[in-house]
Subunit: 411 residues, 2 copies
């Protein structure tokens, strides 16, 4: 493969994570030092920044500030949720992207996101091939949901998992402080895949975690749930429960959106999140003091509790995207292949964008207990190595010191 | 004052904090090494453990585990919410306490808690004096609410404040990631005093915090609130709001409990927490994407984000309680007197229990802006020194390693 000289664009897309900026830094830092790459542009708000000709010249940034991206959560370039149309139906966006690529002599495109972003990557790459414009396209994975196909795990998952496990441990102590008993329902992100909710089992494995864990992978049954809780509460005086926001009834209805009815344990109309709905149902059943807690955005932006392993792997995935693209590879997403037999080893592997684009990876059924209300050891063995290591966190006045980018617009 | 030899009891009461166990460790570690104190007992669940003769022999604990109390949130001995009766009306409890004190030759009583706990201390002390049983009683303060009278600040406040400020900064980045705008309402603890909610201003001072902050110290006006938010959202496309759970309307009704009515911005019946109620009202007014986040228990048990200053001061308050009691002092609560003119200096001062017992300290009106929707620099200058320093946090597998106490019952 001959050398391809030109500029690169990097963009971020979808829901942010604690470490997506580590991947970004991996791309930028590697690209800035690679002689084949003439300019490094950051797209404002993902593909929308390309479409709107809003590109930042990353070479103008202070290297010390760029380095702080590893302890800056959220997407430093801004993100978007933009679904690309099928180019055979409407190629307006693709023509615009081509125009921008030509304008800035862009020969490398790195896109940092989840399933939808890999779909975007794939469509852009196929279009450029069709019109004969040489541009190497690489997907850099991120998602706290950990649901990308083909890779052992996704950058962003481990840090969110560590936040969840740590918070569950701390809340466990708080929720056991009175001798008068207490039940606590914790709602965790994950619409279709239960990886994050399963991470609460890391707290249980340490002795300070949920007694019951419900993932979207198993159909939810309200009567069974209330019986499960009641049994533990009657026996111990306490019960801690972790639920995924995406749990559904057998018929596919989200528990969080189901209509109130007497039969499902909700005696009266309910608004608010799943945690408070379930807390009310549990209170009605047990009469206990019940608290519902939603970890909300906190779990995906808690960079102060990030996993060093996750930060390093995120950086490595950005770095690998650049190095492989320069070496001639295109149309791939960077993934991880891991070996846990003798300690933990993680290697980069490249996956076809078209395979990754629209497949979701769920928690294997055999990693969930038979009753569907707990997590088996296989998950602990899988997840524990991923959360290891403390970040070298940038602080000022004992508060986070985030990267401050100048964001100089490209000319 | 002659030497008083005998056992001591230490108990914990009220809502736990991230650092109340540092105070506990200050008492236990100092008492175990003081020759005047013959035995160190920990009361299970505060005064209930004394009443129920459930005392742990702290001398049986492994010193290395006791040292881990400084990174263990919640109340390691268990807590209670037990209001002591007036002894002139019903002295049953006091007689029982006297019996236990005599049984174990208890001459020192240390009680670790907030306003109510200081009231308990005070009543027990006065009763013991009345019946002529010599026992020195000292209050060791704690409360995330920071509302204890007479002391510059309370152990537990700073760590919760740091958690709140850090979380607000992280959420700020997350809530500004899309170019499509977003409004975020964060609900923070504090029923009558707004100290904790004010702590979100530390995030604003760093450039990543709430635009609007509402404390219980100022009467809440829904129309004014919605206008405030709308103005900022229209101008910037974003708005971040911090509210105290205890905000009230002019007539004293809690906003979180007010009946739904069209005039107060709630068009329809609402359940769930204040954050989601306000989020709904804001959504109706602005049409924006709005998210309500309740920091819930997380803010008072997030020991991984504790302030080292807070940990050290908490330990020092426990230590001072013991040393002063042995030196002959009784009927006092340990407080802090601080000087911020040339750096930060904090000294122990002793306060009369009877003064502390039933007074609440609120945020001074002049520390809140005139409009009642923001915090002035005086608060930043006050709070910033308190949150300084990172804890030497005990970990195992990159998760918290809490103190494991044997809790051997006293014979």
């Amino acid at each position: 493969m001959s050398e391809l000289k030109g500029a690169c664009i990097v963009g971020q897309s979808g829901g942010p994570t604690s470490v997506i900026n580590s991947s970004l830094y991996g791309v930028i830092n590697t690209a800035l030092h690679n002689p084949s790459i003439t300019k490094v542009y950051g797209a404002a708000n993902g593909i929308k920044g390309v479409l709107g000709d809003k590109l930042y010249d990353m070479g103008e940034e202070d290297p010390a500030e760029l380095a702080k991206l590893t302890s800056t959560p959220s997407s430093a370039l801004g993100s978007c949720r933009y679904k690309m149309k099928d180019p055979d139906v409407d190629d307006t966006d693709y023509k615009k992207i081509l125009e921008i690529f030509k304008k800035y002599d862009v020969r490398y495109f790195f896109y940092n996101g989840g399933n939808d972003s890999m779909d975007t990557c794939n469509k852009i790459s196929k279009y450029m091939q069709k019109v004969g414009y040489e541009c190497r396209v690489m997907g850099v994975p991120k998602t706290i949901d950990n649901d990308l196909f083909g890779t052992d795990h996704c950058p962003g998952f481990a840090s969110a998992a560590k936040y969840i496990a740590t918070s569950c441990m701390e809340v466990f102590l708080d929720a056991h402080v009175y001798d008068t008993g207490e039940i606590c329902v914790i709602e965790i992100m994950g619409r279709n895949a239960g990886w994050l909710t399963a991470a609460s089992a890391l707290a249980s494995a340490k002795g300070y975690g949920p007694d019951l864990i419900y993932l979207p992978e198993v159909a939810f049954n309200m009567d069974k749930f209330l019986d499960d809780v009641d049994k533990i509460y009657k026996k111990t005086g306490y019960c801690m429960i972790a639920v995924s926001e995406g749990i559904c009834y057998e018929d596919g209805t989200l528990v969080s959106e189901a209509q109130a009815s007497a039969s499902d344990g909700f005696g009266h109309a309910q608004l608010g999140g799943l945690a408070s709905r379930l807390a009310d149902a549990v209170k009605e059943k047990t009469g206990a003091k019940v608290r519902g807690i939603e970890l909300s955005l906190l779990q995906r932006c808690g960079a102060h509790l990030a996993s060093k392993t996750d930060i390093d792997e995120s950086y490595a995935s950005g770095e690998a995207a650049v190095n492989n693209a320069v070496a001639g590879i295109t149309d791939k997403m960077v993934g991880f292949k891991c070996d846990r037999t003798n300690g933990y080893k993680c290697e980069i592997q490249l996956l076809d964008l078209s395979d990754v684009a629209n497949t979701e990876k769920k928690v294997p059924r055999e990693w969930i207990n038979e009753e569907g209300n707990g997590i088996n050891q296989q998950f602990i063995d899988y997840a524990l190595p991923l959360i290891q290591g403390e970040p070298d966190f940038s602080r000022e006045d004992s508060l986070p010191r985030f990267a401050k980018l100048k964001k100089v617009l490209a000319k």
